[in-house]
Symmetry: C2
């Protein structure tokens, strides 16, 4: 029997995936689980998206252009213009979800053995794509005490080696919900420019910025236009995760020409998703206003409830729909498993994501969990009650 | 400006892609082009597929399971059973097209620097995925004189080095249309077993086998169940290229466990495509009978017409919807460009794929073209007439 590749063997199983069998067992026992562990919103996909797919008059479901339908790319440029991101249709490749945008960007920008610095905690799947591209992720720690602000530039400087080829950020952040300030991004720009690095930025949550705070894109940063690659997805914007439509964007022609070759090798992005996504560009502003109002209410509730619990600390995030909370527990992996395996409150429990899966540094995030506030307020209320009760009786409690 | 990765820089532009600007210019001049250069069938997608998508009652377009919807995987196993391929739903991962199946299989099975032997001419995009996985493709030549039969096992033996980790085939073949016989596959099995290699087999054209010849899958080969990875797609089966639904299948648990981690990193395959593909499993046999009858008529016509032309040789393929023809020309790349740039017959011309793009060995296929017989008979008649006239006046004619 031939052996699998080293990288396939070394791919870590995510701490969330490890919990799935315990969740299934709990469900079988009749326990209701509030899923705050994943970024699957409960918000309805806009009618414009769903109806465009329903009404599409397709006889032969053909390949699209490898970079995506031109009509979609052109219209998408207008969407970006509203965010002061000025690109033309040749500077965007439509991808199979944000995932493929990350994958193609990494393949395009980095050689095997190159290093890429990523502030941690970070979206766990960056690890998978880095491994696939044989790129080494160098984590740089951000801390809950500062709300997961950008680590000091001096810390980045310490991490830079001759192998450092890029920096990757997520803004607004998953899993932290942190929204980088203009000052932070300008400092990052200077660093990127100084060392001539690629700056990859995952900005799929731009619709979800709160408290009047300004969303600054890496595409706004002057002087590093050739270094910047924007990674995007419609999954969260239109609550259309299953469409698998994302985008890779750059003003660097060499990058886009090479990326297109990878895109051509896989032929085309999904046709139905593109049809829906193009139509969804006409989604009225009122849809987003409503969604945002809903998320703000959820966030405010969750943060307030969390911080009420003795020994819990959770900074208030300004973006996305996640927060990371520090709990008075010995071990988040154990605690999250215990919630599913050994605990219930009125036959209900809550599923959380242990933050350890979002850190690369060993031991980091051991007493932290990520909470996705993607359920309605009534469910969130029950979920928070479960968590509160659980922390009263968890055997590994530390305070 | 940071430099792109070596592999991105080294990705060859396909000879077909290079022709696109010339095709566009010809269209602008008002020349009608018969596209025999791509595998985009003109056959209608089954109504069951289209209607399932139209009628899907979706409120929130959610992520599916990373391995694909369980209902689809279960039903798909019944489809394979009809071909005597016996698998369960845990031995299949639904992918974003056959492309992603190839990509994940390569990432899972091969380390950077490993060698994989592939009979040439082969589907050009195997190069892209090999490059992405840093795997070295070792081509082994098959010849038009034998109709592109499997090269002798002794030739394979000569290519095997300590770095050889797998063999990859396409059966029925793109671009050759060749259908491997049971004897050929048994010989390959013995070789795979002897050297304990992975055997990856792309069998997306199994519905298109002609002349009563038997389709033998690598999944039928006894004694190498742990070595075999089947790569599949619904693109051609249901003429649903834009759905982006494929599958990676293996009975090797270690392979599937690792492959699932790559699948989890990219979250899920497209939802709409899965809905259509699941419904299309009920496509009546009459649909395939009609399609097959149509392709056989097209093939017979094209092969007959080609071989009528002075100096042209084209073996009759038993599968898929491609053939490779040897033409009396100096250079297929030049000829295909000339067809678009300098030639027209009654304001019509034909676009072909230079076979050079399907060979890795330098100079191979220089006087060969791939013809996809994916147009209706009336268009094929005009296209063959164009080709015949073109060969009378092409300046680089060799006979």
């Amino acid at each position: 029997m031939p052996s699998i590749s080293h990288k396939a063997g070394a791919m870590p199983a995510s701490p969330i995936r490890k919990l799935v069998p315990f969740a299934e067992a709990a469900k079988k026992r009749g326990t209701k689980i509030y899923h705050l562990n994943i970024g699957q919103p409960d918000i309805e996909t806009p009618a414009s998206f769903i109806n465009a797919v329903k009404n599409a008059d397709i006889k032969v479901l053909e390949y699209s252009h490898s970079a995506g339908n031109e009509s979609y790319r052109k219209k998408l440029c207008n969407y970006y213009k509203e965010y002061n991101i000025n690109i033309d249709q040749n500077e965007v490749i439509i991808t199979c979800g944000g995932s493929e945008a990350i994958e193609i960007a990494m393949m395009t920008c980095f050689n095997a053995g190159d290093e890429i610095i990523i502030p941690e905690p970070f979206y766990a799947n960056y690890n998978g794509f880095s491994m696939a591209a044989n790129v080494k992720v160098v984590p740089i720690r951000s801390y809950i005490e500062t709300g997961f602000a950008l680590p000091p530039i001096a810390d980045f400087e310490k991490m830079i080696t001759p192998k450092t080829k890029g920096i990757m950020i997520c803004n607004p952040g998953n899993p932290t919900g942190y929204l980088y300030s203009k000052e932070e991004l300008l400092a990052l720009r200077d660093l990127v420019k100084k060392h001539d690095l690629f700056l990859l930025s995952d900005e799929v949550y731009r619709e979800f910025c709160y408290d009047g705070k300004e969303y600054v894109s890496v595409m706004h940063l002057e002087g590093i236009e050739q270094n910047v690659v924007l990674l995007d997805s419609i999954s969260k914007r239109y609550s259309a995760c299953g469409a698998r439509i994302g985008a890779m964007i750059s003003k660097n022609k060499e990058v886009m020409t090479a990326a297109l070759k990878f895109a051509q090798a896989r032929l085309s992005p999904p046709s139905y998703g593109q049809i829906g996504a193009e139509a969804a560009l006409d989604t009225p502003k009122s849809y987003f206003d409503e969604v945002k109002t809903e998320y703000i209410a959820r966030r405010n509730f969750v943060i307030e409830e969390l911080n009420k619990i003795d020994g819990v600390y959770c900074p208030k995030p300004s973006g996305a729909f996640y927060c990371i909370a520090k709990l008075p527990i010995d071990n988040a992996d154990k605690f999250c498993q215990w919630l599913l395996e050994d605990f219930n409150f009125n036959n209900q429990t809550v599923m959380l994501a242990p933050a350890t899966g979002f850190y690369s540094s060993p031991g980091a995030g051991i007493d932290e969990v990520r909470i996705a506030y993607i359920l309605n307020l009534s469910d969130l209320k029950n979920a928070m009650e479960c968590l509160c009760e659980a922390l009263k009786v968890y055997p590994g409690k530390t305070n």
